[in-house]
């Protein structure tokens, strides 16, 4: 089986949403991937998406950011629900995997589609934005408005762990700035990030859930992920060694966690903290 990916479109309201597909339907659940703030499939899942396709069918959506004030989580979660409706057969078991803002959206989808979502994996996600996260968003917005040259460096400082950055020379760290291209869509998503609160939806989730926190995450500290763990009934919690950019710092480990949990959730005892295997 090769890893050829195809891009398709899904109708949503009066739009056509882009989504990508890889892998074949198998004995394992079909995986739906939801990217994070300012991202898309290529940016956040360029490694994770195709590699998950080795063992099962995987769909990854490129979210559309509506041009309106007061965005809500449901403005995005409804896009994912439309994708499921459009591209997933009724008898197909589903695992929804979201990263960062995508994890918030994934939790909302699992709460809304209780009967459809069998497994839920929340990567570096959170339930209610804290004052520290709000402070970071305020700094980001100000730097963005000023078109400050410091913005890409600030983003990278927040995105990566100390271990990741300190393994590089000063110049290499500064060069990372060229990968940061803040957009208007990202700015609008950050307005939403400032006031996320999905705590009331969490009790509606009945999917088998794995909460993955990044130990050195400066954007979503582990305490935030622990709140998800505490509030979702059938959940497990694991911490991995990474900054927020787990798609750069720990992509192979994420592939393992998603594969293992999606395929065999029973091997993770429910409502417990899981110790990562040390080779």
């Amino acid at each position: 089986m090769d890893l050829d990916m195809i891009t398709r479109q899904c109708p949503y309201a009066d739009l056509q949403l882009n989504f990508h597909e890889v892998g074949q339907r198998s004995a394992f659940p079909t995986i739906i991937l939801i990217h994070g703030t300012g991202g898309n499939t290529d940016k956040h899942f360029s490694y994770i998406f195709p590699m998950l396709g080795i063992h099962q069918r995987v769909l990854s959506i490129d979210l559309h950011t509506p041009n309106k004030a007061d965005l809500k989580v449901t403005d995005f979660s409804q896009q994912v629900e439309a994708l499921i409706q459009h591209a997933v057969a009724k008898d197909e078991i589903i695992t929804v995997v979201g990263y960062s803002l995508g994890a918030v959206i994934a939790a909302q989808v699992a709460a809304s589609l209780k009967q459809r979502v069998a497994r839920l994996i929340l990567l570096a996600g959170w339930a209610k934005t804290s004052s520290v996260q709000q402070l970071r968003t305020v700094i980001w917005q100000q730097l963005f408005t000023e078109q400050s040259a410091a913005l890409p460096h600030f983003v990278n400082y927040c995105l990566y762990s100390d271990d990741y950055l300190s393994a590089r020379s000063e110049q290499q760290v500064l060069d990372l700035a060229r990968f940061v291209k803040p957009s208007q869509d990202a700015a609008k998503q950050r307005e939403l990030n400032y006031r996320i609160d999905i705590t009331s939806a969490l009790s509606d989730i009945c999917a088998e859930t794995l909460v993955v926190a990044c130990r050195e995450d400066r954007m979503v500290p582990v305490a935030q992920a622990k709140l998800l763990f505490a509030s979702i009934s059938n959940s497990r919690y694991i911490e991995i060694s990474s900054g927020h950019a787990l798609y750069v710092e720990a992509p192979a480990e994420v592939v393992q966690l998603v594969n293992q949990f999606s395929q065999h959730p029973e091997q993770y005892p429910v409502n417990q903290k899981i110790q990562p295997y040390m080779p």
Partner: protein, 498 residues
Amino acid sequence: MQAKGQRSKILIVGSGFGGLGMAIRLKQQGIHDFKIIERAAEVGGTWRDNTYPGVACDVPSHLYSFSFIKNPDWSRVFPHGAEIQRYLIQCCDQENIRPHIDFHTQLEKASWNARERIWEIHTSKGLYQAEILITATGHLADEHLPQIPGLEEFEGQVMHSARWNHELNLENQHIVVVGSGASAIQLVPEIAKTAKSLTVLQRSAPYILPRPDRAYSESEKQLFRKDPDSISALRHSLFWGNEYNFAQRRNLKSQIERVKKNCLQFLKHQISDPELQRKLTPNYQPGCKRLLLSNDYYPTFLKPNVTLEDSALAEVTKDGVLSQAGNKFSADIIVFATGFEAARPPYAAKVVGKQGLSLEQQWSSGMQGYQSTTVHNFPNLFILNGPNTGSGQNSALYFLETQFDLILDALQFFEQEQIQVFEADQSAENSYMQELQQLSQGSVWLSESCKSWYLDPVSRQLTLVWPDYAHSFRDKNQHFIRSGYHYQYVESRQQKLV
């Protein structure tokens, strides 16, 4: 009447990383009734035998060591062979394994005696008997010497990289190295330092990346000693860094292109001559063969005494070699850096199962096993480094340690259930292999341009390498799968399928 030999519950063949590690783990579990036979005079396997100039490991030292005997004192990121060998001797002595080892004892034939339910192991030192046989002879134990016309006419000296003759003086000699794989790229820069002339015969160019090697500072070593968790964290990060590279083996185009670009940039950075660049540019996809790491291989070809012949060896004459391109090179010494008998391990001819067939006969169309560790028709046999346990991207020790856990799990189960004989179920084995062959479809190893030693020479199937992430080998095989075996019990002696 049955011949009497030295009897033990378990007999292990070999005392490299596999045999030694297995012995240590057995002792840790309170199992002391085992014997090791070792053909040489010392433990160490590959690292005892490979002493060629420049020999080193291409897996970082903190990952290329047992998880149950971590070593804070590794001198550098990539250890030299001698340091690994010292580590193995230290492990052996620290865990008091030496009294279990019979050195200078060569396996001649091991046969399953179904009536007595015992392995009879004939060796150069006499007969041994054991309830359970564990082969731990490694992937890289027996050197591969190609059949070359005229070799017997050669008047100079010949040696294989794995059997280095340290009494041979290489200074001011005309030397030909055959091969350009992992051993060659380590020994070529060393030989070039003193040879009068050095010619490298290259069948196909390897992909090479910079070797991020350096010595560990005293303070780093102090931290490893004071805080063993820091070693675990380092191992963890090295392991997952290697796992990432599986995407190249799996033929993920973006990753292939990335690594190809990095390799070719490195080549251009080190070699500016376009003709030499052309010769050193591989003609296959990266990942098909192991990616090599070296900072000094390419620059060696800039030396006036070194020649790269991008053509394989065709013939040996009495005073030199002839390449397939028809070029002649004089030689006082020929070094074969031509690798090992990996796809068809020589031990397979010596292990005979219940049907009177050897493993080699049973594997005539390619190695296969269940859980990569056991084989139907071969009761009470565990094979360390068995079929599909090689890794294109990660440490071989990770696979070995998984097999240790599988075997310990099995032994505990046999003890509990009073099982005297186990044998892999043939259909379970076939399903396991079918799954692996399915996983290997689409991998770079099976791509058209790939002529890799990972493939079986007859079936062209992937029988040596694990075709997935290393961690998935552990997910699948860390436990002995009870339902995949037939058993005979101590009391009832009735065969039944659990």
